[in-house]
Every structure is written in structure tokens, then in C-alpha cells.
């Protein structure tokens, strides 16, 4: 299976009044058609900037990017705006976190869907509208012929996200980037939207990059997963590998904050401390100030990305393999105790 | 800027009098360049900054602006000629064949109208035209809200009944063909002058009454009003039936009202307008005078009937003392007060009368060239002390002048208390008997050039009432009142001589005012304008004489 999107050593920094912010610092991954890559991390980990950089949607005056983004083997990082505009919406599409604000409130849904067609294809307005109705139907909007002329404020949050998905898929893209598509929605709607995306992925055979802070979402939809922290990928694996044998203490923390059906705890475990400042990141391993297993090397050495086990499992932890397994065993036990309590 | 004020009382007079007006002379000083024969044609464009004609109906109009416009359209029994200087102030029979024949008892005036005169619609001018003018002036159906007609009814027999709506005609006025006869309640030496006011110009005998005034009505003068759009403009065209000798140089006169005086000056400089009837901004006088020269081609200055003065409150200490009032007259710095108004704004004065008024003679009684503190202290006779209250309006120029006189008064030993009063309330406050002031700014502009209108009106103590006074010095001297009565009863040269003496007596022996400024009128015209003839009576050029062709 060949990767449709390959990202290598992607770096993005922003100039601000206070200094340079390294939002993305050497991220590499790839995703194949029909596959889903999950990118997981707290806010400020650089996951959203990664997706916006791929789409070329960063503010050009403030952001600089380097590295490589290959779409179907063609470099798309740093190409002209007009080339990017041709790619956006046709080969790569994106849906955003907040469906309440991501739709233009003064244009009808049909108009906005049709626009996505009309900016790329030389078809009649009628054809674009028919396609819009077709997509609305596919994403499960009832009475699409009638609702196509409604405005965003007349839809619920879940319905709006369906509309966003319809808009993203209307030109049959190769890659769909979904930036926290379910965060703003209630749990039931979340599940519906994820199932919808899964179904449509099968129909359209597209690659999905699912950006989330929620490992539960990853477990549900992703094939591969990259855990980001402080602008870097700290662990990268298949979903099975990650959940079976997570290698980075940060991933452990994320797993600890995951609600489980077998847990009786009222309160989920939080990772103590604050996400790192990207303006003045901690020295060495960016996670060391919050890491309960940190030792003397952590504040001084920047850990490289190293393999563990198979070729698909990578991590950035300075702990020796054995020490790490012990630590994970201890951590897992503690989590179970807490879960049982 | 100035309103003319109502002739306040009927003159008491004795004896049969003829040609009162001919004894009067006006001394307008500016002449302009009458020179060559003025070219005819073109449109004279007149701006009126910050003002409008209240009425263009001669039955209601009563302000200098409206009158100087109506002068170009009206035909009067007796009128002022378009002549510069003194000659322009002497009435001549216009529609009348001659000055009226007055009966022995001085109460019946008989005018004969010239034959062949026509209105702008071609209809003839007869005695009925002038009868109608008087009726329109007094009719309750005109209901003049400005109260302008309120005194004429007392002059003419039947006037009061007519004003009260009791009669349809004024019994004292009769018109038969070209004969107009007017019967007066009392002999009146100024009656001919009164007939020279714009209220009494010929109107067609069927001209209707109108409370709002008619914007246009046929007239018999050199021009006629073609249209008026109140608040915007007024257009005059030549009267095609006018055959008289008065000049009618422009084809049209277009008045644009409510202009801005700064922009208007630019328009005149650029030739987009010919003249601003409201005069240029005072701050520009000096620069205009320097650039264009005085009374040469474009910049003209002429005297007005207005006298500015400080009234000294004779009803209380310290100015109930003549010596102190004289001291004030020596102490106040007249040139400094004038300088605050800018160059050309007026002439220094220390008298009640102004040049042009019959009987005026320059006396130079006090310190006309500057304050004389030593002399002031000497005439006071004793050291001066205490606090004097200085009244002035809140305007910038009045406030500045008050500072000058307060400085002057301190120089002779007084303390001063500054009492600014808002402009709209100023004369009301000052005119209320018992007002708390010692020195107050005031000014007076005459209705017509008769010394009565200065001296008797402003200084007769018997007219002092509880409110609405104009005798701001609150001077009441039985001896002086009697002298004023005597002078008012005279006519001709005797009248002039009597008032001439009275002017001196008042300022020397009573000193109720510190007069300081005989105001000027200042005009600036576009380069193409010629034949500027200044009328001291209207304090404006004769617009019908201005040539733009």
C-alpha cells in the first residue's frame, strides 16, 4: 500500500511580538488511501498547526514552514497559492472543530456546498446544487431538497458537522483532514459522526488524518496513531501497538485520562502540570517537567525518535527499554487499582 | 447686523413747517469711483452672509438689509438720490411733483403725484398707490408680528381706529387721482422724512393684505422683485416701465442669502460673487485695506448712524456724581477700544451725535486720542475708590473691551467687578430699572437722521419705565428734558443749531455716556464692479447703481 500523503521533517514557526514560536518541530508521518492516521495531543501540542500547514492555511505573514509534504508524490509545501487552491477542496479537504462557527451564517447551506463544487469544476449551478443535495443525503440530513436552502443557524451542531463533512467530500478528495471534528458535540452525536466518517471513508477510499485530544476517538477510527507533545511526535505506532504497549510516559498519561467502561471512578486522572510553552520550551525532553519518571538525562538531552519492537513503533523516551517496561507495569497497575476503587 | 428701531414717539412741534427734510444734510464721506458713465447690463451677484430679508414686502420689511434692497424697487413720494456724500442724504421729491404743501396749522400735507408713472406690470401709479401703502402698514390684517407699525397710527388721523379694525379706511388719508392728502393729529416737523421710509413706497391699490408678506408684488422703482425663495435667494429684474432718471445698471440683481462670510469673501475675490451685503469678516479689514487701498476700486469704508458707548449709571454712586462721570470720560482709552475692533471698523467719538446727523459738530471734549489719567484724577476732584460693576455681553469682543475699561478704571483708583451677561439677555437685563451695574456697554443705530432719534430717545428721563428701557444711563434731569423738548419742537436750521448745542451740553455738563466709536460700514467688491456709491442712510451701496457690465 503506497502512502498518498507523506510528511517529512515538517517544521512550522510563527513570528510573534514576544519571539519565535516553534509550533511544529520536525514531524514526519505518512498515510495511505483508505487508512486513518490519528494525531493525538493536548491543545498546544502542534497537531492543529500540522494540519493547517499541510493545507497551506497558515497566515503567510507570520508563519514559516520547512520540510516536505508529498501529496501523491508531489511536493505541495511552499507551492504557489493558486496551486494550493487547486488542491484544496479537491484532493485534500478539511473539516474543523467547531461546526457552529465554521459555516458562513449569511449564506445558505446549498450555496456553500455548491461553491465548493463551482470553484473547482466548470459545471452549472443546477448540477452543483444537485450534487449538494446528493451529499446532504449521504451524510444523513433528512429532507435534503428542502434543507439545502436553509442557513447554518437553522441546524443543530451535529447536523452542521454533517454539512461540513458533506462539503469536504463533495469533490471526492484523496485526503480528509478532520481537526477535532467531534469535540464540540455531545457523546451520542460524536459516535454518529465517527461512524459516518468511517462509512464514507470506505465508500470514497480516502485517507483520513484525524486530529484529536481523545484517545477514545483514536481507538474507534484510526489505523495508525501519532502522539504529539510540544510540537514533536513523541510516539508513533499502529493503534494496536499503542494501546497494547505504549512506550512514552506522556502516552501513559493520555491513556490514564481515557474513560473506560469498566472504570467506576468519578474522576479521570489528569496529567499534572501545564502543556509546555512553545515560546520558551523546556530544555531536553519537553515532557520532563511533568514526567514522574524523569531522571538526570531528561532535562539535558533531546531524545531522538527510536524504534521499539516492530518497524512501525517509534518513541522519544530516554528511559532504557527495561526500566520503561517496569514503569509502565507500575503505572498500569496503579491505574487499575484506581479503576477498581 | 443691525435692526432699525421704531420711531418711539410723535414729535411735538409747533408752527407751519415746510420742507423739513431740505434742512437736513447727510455727510457720507466715501464716494467711490462714480467717474465715467457706468456700463449697463450683466447680473449683479450679491451675497448676504448670515442673514436673510425678513420680508420683501414693503409693508412689513424693517431691517437695513431689506430696506437697501427695497430701495432699488420702490418709488417713494420723497426719496434719497443715488449720490455720494452729503448730497445722498438730502431728500428730493420722487413720485411727488414737489415737496408737499403744508397747511397753516401744520397738520395737513398735500402731495401731487407726477403723471405717467407706471408699475412694473404697466398699470399707472396714482395717489391711491400711496394710500394703499399706508393702509398696508397699519392694517390689522397684516398683523405684523414684528410690531413695526405700532407708532405710525398715532401720527395720522384715523390711524388708531384703522389699526384697531374699527374702520376700513384711514379717515385722515384721501386719494383723488393724483392728489394725496394726509391729515395729522399734531403738527410734525419730521413727517416728510417719515414718508421717505421704505414702508411708504407705491403699491398697486389692489395689493392684498398678507400676514406672511408678499414675496413679489409689482413695484414702481427702477427694479422689481421677480422671485424670492426665502432662505435661499431673491431675484430682481429691471422694471420695464420705469422711465425715471434713477440708475438701473445691472440687468438683474441676484441676492443669495445665508452665505458664510469667509467663503463669501473668497467668492468675491475670485469673482464668483460681486459683493457681500453683510460686509467682510472684520478680521480681514486691515489686510483688504492694505491690498486694495481705501475707497479706490474694491475696498470701501463709510460711516454709519451707529454710536457705541459705555453708559454710566447715573442713578447710583459713584456715577451719580458729574465729576466722577467726567473722570471716566478722561480715563477710558478710546483708541484702545477701537483697536480691538480692527482697522477701519469705526471712528473715535466722545459725543452723542454722529456725522451726518443735522446739528453734528465735532467737539473733542474729552481724551479722544487716548487715556489721560492725570487729567481724570484732577477732574474727579477727590481720590476715587470703591468697586464699580462693569456689564458686558459674553461675546469675545465685548469681554476684551471690558478688560480695557476695567484697567482704565483701576488706573484712576476704582476696583472693578466684571459682570458678563449672555448676549440674548443683555439688553433685557440692562433695560430693567435698578439693574446692578455702574458701567455698561451699549450701542445705538438711528432709524433716520434726526438728532431727536439720538438725544431724546436715549436720554429723556421721563421715558424711564420698569423694564425695556433704552436710557441705560438712567439719566433724568428736568432741565435737560425741557431743553430736549424745546429742540424737538424746532425745525430747519434752528433745530440743527439747538441740537448742536444740546450735544455739547449733554457731554460736558451731564456726561452720562463715554461714547467711543462711530461705527463704519465696510464693503469689498469684485474687480469687475464699478460705480460704488455709498449711502450713509442705508449704510450700504446703492445696489441699483453698481455696474457689472
Amino acid at each position: 500500500m503506497t502512502a498518498i500523503l507523506q510528511v517529512a521533517d515538517l517544521k512550522t514557526s510563527f513570528r510573534t511580538d514576544d519571539g519565535i514560536v516553534k509550533a511544529v518541530d520536525g514531524v514526519s508521518f505518512s498515510v495511505a488511501k483508505g487508512q486513518t492516521l490519528g494525531i493525538v495531543g493536548e491543545s498546544g501540542s502542534g497537531k492543529s498547526v500540522t494540519s493547517l500547514t499541510i493545507m497551506g492555511l497558515n497566515d503567510k505573514r507570520a508563519a514559516t514552514s520547512s520540510g516536505s509534504v508529498l501529496l501523491d508524490g508531489h511536493e505541495i509545501l511552499g507551492v504557489s497559492t493558486s496551486e494550493l487552491q487547486e488542491i484544496r477542496g479537491t484532493r485534500m479537504a478539511m473539516i474543523f472543530q467547531d461546526p457552529m462557527t465554521s459555516l458562513n451564517p449569511v449564506k445558505s447551506i446549498g450555496w456553500q456546498l455548491s461553491e465548493a463544487v463551482l470553484v473547482h469544476k466548470d459545471v452549472t449551478k443546477k448540477a452543483a446544487r444537485d450534487r449538494a443535495i446528493e451529499l446532504l443525503e449521504q451524510v444523513g440530513i433528512p429532507n435534503p431538497e428542502r434543507r439545502v436552502d436553509d442557513y447554518a443557524p437553522q441546524f443543530s451542531g451535529g447536523m452542521r458537522q454533517r454539512v461540513m463533512i458533506a462539503m469536504a467530500l463533495i469533490n471526492n478528495p484523496d485526503v480528509l483532514i478532520a481537526d477535532e471534528p467531534t469535540t464540540a458535540l455531545d457523546v451520542t452525536t460524536q459516535a454518529q459522526i465517527l461512524r459516518l466518517m468511517k462509512r464514507l471513508q470506505d465508500e470514497y477510499n480516502m485517507a483520513i488524518i484525524m486530529i484529536t485530544h481523545d484517545l477514545g476517538v483514536i481507538a474507534e477510527v484510526a489505523d495508525d496513531v501519532a502522539v504529539m507533545y510540544g510540537g514533536k511526535v513523541v510516539e508513533q505506532a499502529t493503534v494496536a501497538e499503542l494501546f497494547d504497549s505504549p512506550q512514552h510516559p506522556y502516552t501513559w498519561g493520555l491513556l490514564g485520562s481515557l474513560p473506560r467502561l469498566d472504570s467506576k471512578a468519578d474522576r479521570l486522572e489528569q496529567i499534572p502540570g501545564q502543556p509546555p510553552s512553545l515560546l520558551r520550551p523546556p530544555s531536553g525532553c519537553a515532557f520532563h517537567p511533568r514526567c514522574e519518571f524523569a531522571f538526570n538525562r531528561c532535562p539535558t538531552e533531546v531524545p531522538p525518535l527510536v524504534k521499539f519492537g516492530g518497524p512501525t513503533h517509534l518513541h522519544r523516551c530516554l528511559l532504557g527499554d527495561d526500566t520503561r517496561q517496569e514503569a509502565w507495569a507500575k503505572k498500569k497497575a496503579a491505574m487499575k487499582v484506581e479503576a477498581a476503587a | 447686523m443691525r435692526k432699525k428701531f421704531v420711531l418711539p414717539a410723535v414729535l411735538a412741534a409747533i408752527g407751519a413747517l415746510l420742507l423739513v427734510a431740505s434742512a437736513y444734510a447727510s455727510t457720507g464721506s466715501s464716494s467711490g469711483v462714480a467717474g465715467k458713465v457706468a456700463k449697463k447690463g450683466g447680473t449683479l451677484k450679491v451675497n448676504v452672509s448670515n442673514g436673510d430679508f425678513t420680508f420683501s414686502d414693503p409693508g412689513l420689511a424693517y431691517d437695513t438689509l431689506s430696506w437697501s434692497m427695497l430701495y432699488t424697487t420702490q418709488m417713494l413720494l420723497v426719496n434719497f438720490p443715488e449720490k455720494p456724500g452729503q448730497a445722498g442724504g438730502q431728500l428730493y421729491p420722487e413720485a411727488a411733483t414737489a415737496f408737499p404743501v403744508v397747511s397753516k396749522d401744520g397738520k395737513t400735507y398735500a402731495f401731487t403725484i407726477r403723471p405717467g408713472l407706471k408699475f412694473s406690470d404697466g398699470s399707472p401709479v396714482t395717489a391711491a398707490a400711496f394710500q394703499r401703502a399706508i393702509e398696508r402698514n397699519l392694517s390689522p390684517k397684516m398683523g405684523s408680528p414684528v410690531g413695526v407699525n405700532v407708532q405710525v397710527q398715532k401720527l395720522i388721523i384715523g390711524g388708531e381706529d384703522f389699526l384697531a379694525g374699527k374702520t376700513q379706511k384711514i379717515s385722515g388719508v384721501s386719494a383723488k387721482g393724483l392728489k394725496l392728502t394726509i391729515k395729522l393729529t399734531k403738527p410734525n416737523p419730521t413727517f416728510v422724512s417719515i414718508m421717505g421710509m421704505q414702508w411708504f413706497g407705491a403699491v398697486k391699490p389692489d395689493t392684498p393684505y398678507s400676514t406672511a408678506g408678499l414675496n413679489t408684488t409689482p413695484s414702481a422703482g427702477p427694479y422689481t422683485i421677480k422671485s424670492r425663495d426665502a432662505g435661499r435667494n431673491l431675484v430682481e429684474v429691471r422694471n420695464p416701465y420705469y422711465k425715471g432718471t434713477r440708475p438701473a445698471n445691472p440687468d438683474q440683481i441676484v441676492w443669495t442669502v445665508n452665505t458664510d462670510s469667509d467663503q463669501s469673501l473668497l467668492q468675491v475675490k475670485a469673482g464668483q460673487a460681486d459683493i457681500d451685503a453683510s460686509q467682510p469678516p472684520a478680521a480681514q479689514y486691515a489686510a483688504l485695506g492694505d491690498q486694495f487701498g481705501l475707497n479706490k476700486k474694491q475696498f470701501f469704508v463709510g460711516p454709519t448712524s451707529c454710536i457705541l458707548y459705555y453708559a454710566l449709571n447715573t442713578s447710583r454712586a459713584p456715577f451719580n456724581s458729574l465729576a466722577v462721570r467726567k473722570a471716566a470720560n478722561w480715563a477710558l482709552d478710546r483708541p484702545a477700544l477701537l483697536r480691538l475692533s480692527g482697522k477701519y471698523s469705526g471712528s473715535r467719538s466722545d459725543q452723542v451725535l454722529v456725522p451726518g446727523v443735522p446739528g453734528y459738530k465735532r467737539y473733542d471734549i474729552y481724551a479722544i486720542k487716548g487715556a489721560d489719567v492725570a487729567k481724570a484724577k484732577k477732574v474727579a476732584g477727590k481720590p476715587l475708590s470703591g468697586t464699580v460693576t462693569v456689564f458686558h455681553s459674553t461675546s469675545a469682543s465685548q469681554t476684551a473691551r471690558a478688560q480695557v475699561i476695567e484697567y482704565n478704571l483701576k488706573q484712576i483708583g476704582f476696583d472693578t467687578k466684571d459682570r458678563p451677561v449672555p448676549g440674548g439677555l443683555y439688553y433685557k437685563t440692562l433695560g430693567t430699572k435698578g439693574a446692578d451695574f455702574d458701567v455698561a456697554y451699549a450701542g445705538w443705530c438711528a432709524d433716520f437722521f434726526d438728532p431727536f432719534d439720538y438725544i431724546n430717545v436715549n436720554l429723556d428721563g421721563r421715558s424711564i419705565q420698569d423694564a425695556n428701557n433704552v436710557n441705560f444711563a438712567y439719566l433724568n434731569s428736568a432741565k435737560l428734558n425741557a431743553a430736549m423738548d424745546k429742540a424737538a419742537s424746532l425745525s430747519g436750521a434752528a433745530r440743527a443749531t439747538a441740537y448742536q448745542k444740546l450735544d455739547l451740553t449733554i457731554m460736558r455738563d451731564y456726561a452720562p455716556w463715554v461714547s467711543y466709536n462711530n461705527l463704519n460700514s465696510v464693503y469689498f467688491v469684485a474687480p469687475r464692479v464699478s460705480n460704488f456709491i455709498y449711502s450713509a442712510y442705508f449704510t450700504s451701496p446703492d445696489y441699483n447703481a453698481l455696474a457689472v457690465g
Binding site: R88, N104 | G147, V150, K226, S264, N468, V470
Partner: protein, 323 residues
């Protein structure tokens, strides 16, 4: 929509009564006597009383006010001027087109300048052009219309001679003797007044539009539009403009009232025979019927204009329409 109109109409009536009552009250609090002013300085008390009766000023204020209301409602008559007995209806009818020419023409001018300038500033913040336009904003906000008018009149009208210095021409059927008339002369004479309004108001609008456009540019739906591949011009026109102009429409509605105030100065400077000039004149003469007439007309005009703006807003913004 029906209730909206009913509510607005009731508001309008309340506003109208408040505006006229306040005008009446202020007029009577000012201790100046219009009868005395109309009569002249040398009037006797008897004459003043006569004039006062003629002008109905001898009645209590509330009766005068009711008289005014009755006449207005039953005869659509605003009365007559104290000073020259002119019909106030005619005064208002004569002045309104001039003021409308000034205000609406001025609005077109200031929008024509401020929309492009505001958008450009928003797209290129901190650029030279942005700084220049922000300097202009500061200048425009600080300057007084009289000063702007005098400077424009002097520089453009007098020194350069490109436009008339002052004056007005009718758009339709000029009155006799007016030196000019017709649309071209009308516009030619209005250029400087419009420019004055432009300097005065464009300043505020450049700021407003700049802020709105910048805010709208950061909206999620703009990012959505870019993500679907829309070109920058398309994003600007279809997504940014309409949304960022919505507040401008509201402010425009409110500023028409403000502009009527600005018209007082601008009309005075350029000798435009509009309502602002008339109201100043009436104020100087204590001419209550004219002041009240113009206040009444302006109030109605502002209320109506705001109603139109509200309806326009509802048309432009489905959120309002659908709620």
C-alpha cells in the same frame, strides 16, 4: 415581522413626543423672550404684549404644545415662523432636499473611500498604506467640519479654482435667476461639501471597516472557504465583505442622525440652504416653530431611516430574519 413593525412604530411615536417635548421645554427654559426679540428694542411693554398674543406666546406651554400637536396631526401643518411668518412646511420642504443631497451624497463619498481603504488596511496591517490611512483617521476624527470646509473652500475652490467656493444648485428645475441648475451643476457645487463629509466620516468608517474585516478574516468560516479552495478575491467578496459590512449598515443608520448634526456646520460653510442652515438661523432668532418643525422632520427622517436600515439588515442577515 409584524410585531417588529408594530414595536418600531410605537417606539417611533414615543421618540417623536419625547423629542418635541424636550425642544419645547428647552425653548421655554431659555430666558429669552421671542415676542420681545420679534418686536424690537424700542417696543413698549404694550407692543410686546400685542406681539406675544399674536404669536400665541401668552398661553401656557402645555397649551402651546397641544396646539402644535393638534395642528401637526390634523392638518399636517408645522405652523409659521415667528420671525417672518413663512410656512414651516415650506421651509422644511425647501431645505430637506438640500440636506438629503448633502447627507446621502456624503455617505456615498465616505463609503467609496472608507470601504477600499478599510479593506486594504485590514489585509495589509502595518503596511505604509495602513499607517497612512490610520493617520488620516486620526486627522479626520480630530478635525472640525468648519475647519475642513474652510480649508477645502480656500485650497480647492479659491487657489486651485477647480470647484465653486460655495453655493447650491437645484437638481431639478432651478428657481428663476439661479445661475445654475441640473444634475451636473448640482454635483459640481456639492463636491466640496461631500468631500468635507468624506474627511469627517470616512475616518471613523475606515477604522470600523478595518476592524470588522480583520475580525471577519479570523472567522472560522473564512478558513472553511479557503479550505475548499476558494480564491482570495472570492473569499473577500463572498465571505468577508458581506459579514463585515453588516455592522457598518447599522452604524450607517445611526450616523445619519449624526450627519444631520454635521450638516449644520457644512451647510453653513458652503452656503447650502438646507435644514441645518435653517435651524441655526431659527435658533439665532429664537424662532421656535421653525426649530420644532425641523426637529420634528429630522426625528421622523431618522426614525424612518433606521427602520429602513433594520429591514435592510434583516434582509442581509438571515439570523435576524429567521429569529
Amino acid at each position: 415581522m409584524f410585531y417588529f413593525l408594530v414595536r418600531r412604530t410605537l417606539w417611533a411615536v414615543a421618540l417623536f413626543i419625547a423629542a418635541t417635548v424636550i425642544t419645547y421645554l428647552i425653548f421655554y427654559i431659555i430666558p429669552a423672550d421671542p415676542a420681545k426679540l420679534a418686536c424690537g428694542r424700542a417696543c413698549t411693554q404694550q407692543d410686546v404684549d400685542r406681539v406675544r398674543h399674536f404669536l400665541h406666546l401668552d398661553q401656557p406651554v402645555w397649551r402651546q404644545y397641544l396646539r402644535f400637536l393638534w395642528r401637526l396631526v390634523y392638518h399636517q401643518d408645522l405652523g409659521r415662523s415667528f420671525v417672518n411668518q413663512q410656512s414651516v412646511n415650506q421651509i422644511v420642504a425647501g431645505g430637506a432636499p438640500v440636506t438629503a443631497s448633502l447627507v446621502f451624497g456624503g455617505a456615498v463619498f465616505w463609503l467609496l473611500l472608507s470601504i477600499p481603504a478599510g479593506i486594504y488596511s485590514a489585509l495589509k496591517p502595518r503596511s505604509i498604506a495602513d499607517r497612512a490611512s490610520m493617520t488620516f483617521v486620526l486627522f479626520g476624527i480630530s478635525a472640525h467640519p468648519v475647519w475642513i470646509g474652510l480649508i477645502l473652500g480656500y485650497l480647492v475652490g479659491f487657489r486651485l479654482g477647480w470647484t465653486p467656493i460655495a453655493g447650491y444648485c437645484d437638481f431639478f428645475s432651478p428657481s428663476f435667476g439661479s445661475s445654475c441648475g441640473g444634475p451636473v451643476q448640482w454635483a459640481y457645487h456639492m463636491v466640496l461639501p461631500w468631500l468635507t463629509f468624506m474627511v469627517l466620516f470616512a475616518a471613523l468608517y475606515v477604522r470600523l471597516i478595518r476592524a470588522n474585516v480583520m475580525e471577519t478574516l479570523s472567522e472560522d468560516y473564512v478558513r472553511t472557504a479557503r479550505a475548499k479552495g476558494a480564491s482570495e478575491p472570492r473569499v473577500m467578496v463572498q465571505h468577508v465583505m458581506r459579514n463585515s459590512m453588516l455592522p457598518v449598515v447599522t452604524i450607517l443608520g445611526m450616523d445619519i442622525g449624526l450627519a444631520l448634526g454635521g450638516a449644520i456646520f457644512t451647510e453653513s460653510i458652503f452656503s447650502l440652504p438646507g435644514l441645518g442652515r435653517r435651524v441655526i438661523q431659527a435658533y439665532n432668532n429664537n424662532d421656535l416653530p421653525v426649530i420644532v418643525g425641523i426637529v420634528v422632520f429630522s426625528t421622523i427622517a431618522i426614525i424612518l431611516f433606521n427602520l429602513i436600515v433594520d429591514l435592510l439588515y434583516a434582509f442581509l442577515d438571515p439570523r435576524i430574519r429567521l429569529s
